[in-house]
Amino acid sequence: MSFLTVKNINKSFGNTEVLRGIDFSLEKGEVVSIIGSSGSGKTTLLRCLNFLEIADVGEITVDGETVFKAERGQVFSDKELRDKRSRFGLVFQSFNLFPQYTALDNLTLAPRLRLDERAKREKMSAAQKREETAKIRARADELLEQVGLTEKAGFYPCQLSGGQQQRVAIARALMLSPDILCFDEPTSALDPELTGEVLRVIRSLKDSERTMIIVTHEMEFARHVSDKVIFMADGVIEEAGTPEEVFGNPQSEKTKAFLAHDK
């Protein structure tokens, strides 16, 4: 049984079928890159995994637990969606940092709100809560260091470069230790000279515990960082395999055309 199993995901917007039966699976600690031209459904797939969109058909299993199984006309409550999302993290193309908070507060906001809820539920003492808050702070410091932004902790997003903002966003996504971290074209909104720092950070996150799904147009990066590459076209997985297989010896005509065009 794989760590993440995605079965037959379908999603339409009106009459447009964006995803038409997506199946794939990942082992724990694996990194998969999803490549393909614009409009192939890559981003929608990530959004379905993070429940920003609800798939019309399909099933998602994480670590043996079914987190999602589509039934027609299903509506999820806010709470159900929060539970489902807790296993996934998402880094956006446009960073989406909260502009009124410093880099550090961007990291700690959601965990602190979560702690407030827990403190109320478990009737925590003030000392206990202070201790938990300090833990959140320590974790944030640690992650900012990991993305190389310790000295920018007190800066607001508008005072940071695009690359720095995206590194803060990555650290923020890691705060809640998601099982599966998704990246939606993390460098597409950046100037070319800033993509390197972001890609280096993503590469440094690779370890045996962290499963990552990266939608990207950076072919060199996809080739070097991934354990698996998925090529999507017209809402289906056209080809999947190791980077050597997909980049070195593509089987499908569409993959060949896409890779040739990209060179």
Binding site: K79, R85, S94, P99
Partner: protein, 215 residues
Amino acid sequence: MALFWEVTVSLLKGFGTTCSIFGLTLVLALPLGLLISFGTMSKFRPIKAVFKTFVWIIRGVPLMLQLFVVFYVPGFVFGMPIASRFVATIIAFVINYACYFSEIYRAGIEAIPVGQTEAGEVLGMTKWQIFRKVIFMQVVKRIIPPMGNEIITLVKDTALARVIAVTEIIWRAEQFTSRALIWPLFYTAVFYLAFVGALTLLFGRAEKKLGYYKV
């Protein structure tokens, strides 16, 4: 000189009433406007339609007419005269201004990129947490200039209360015309100008204070 002080004291009393109408309207209409804006943005169509129609009617009819309606209709139609002219004024003003504010809130909220909400969602925040901790402060920053405009209009609109004989500053000044004194009426401008001047400075400071981040 004695006359000047007599007029000044009388106008100050009236200005107190003016400030009460202004303050109470602001305090009540600001939160009510936010609630109405939620109504006009509701995804549930019937609710949206009801709120949109309400805002259309209130914004489409002169405030002066609304004052008459609130003051006279309960007594004439339902046989329950309204307690006081002042209360009628506050009711009419709060409803009217809440509708104008609601449109400012709506514009402010809709201008916030959907990515802000989505970022909160994937971080496991509740809808209410996202609104309170992420969206609202950005909305406040965006709407200070249009709000300032509307609030300054409110200062001067309080003069409309005169039509149901609320003893605000214009009403007081008019009392002197029976003694063939017209200048107290023009003198009221000084009070309005001073008040609006102070408000302008205040909004400028608020804008500056929120200038540390960009939305």
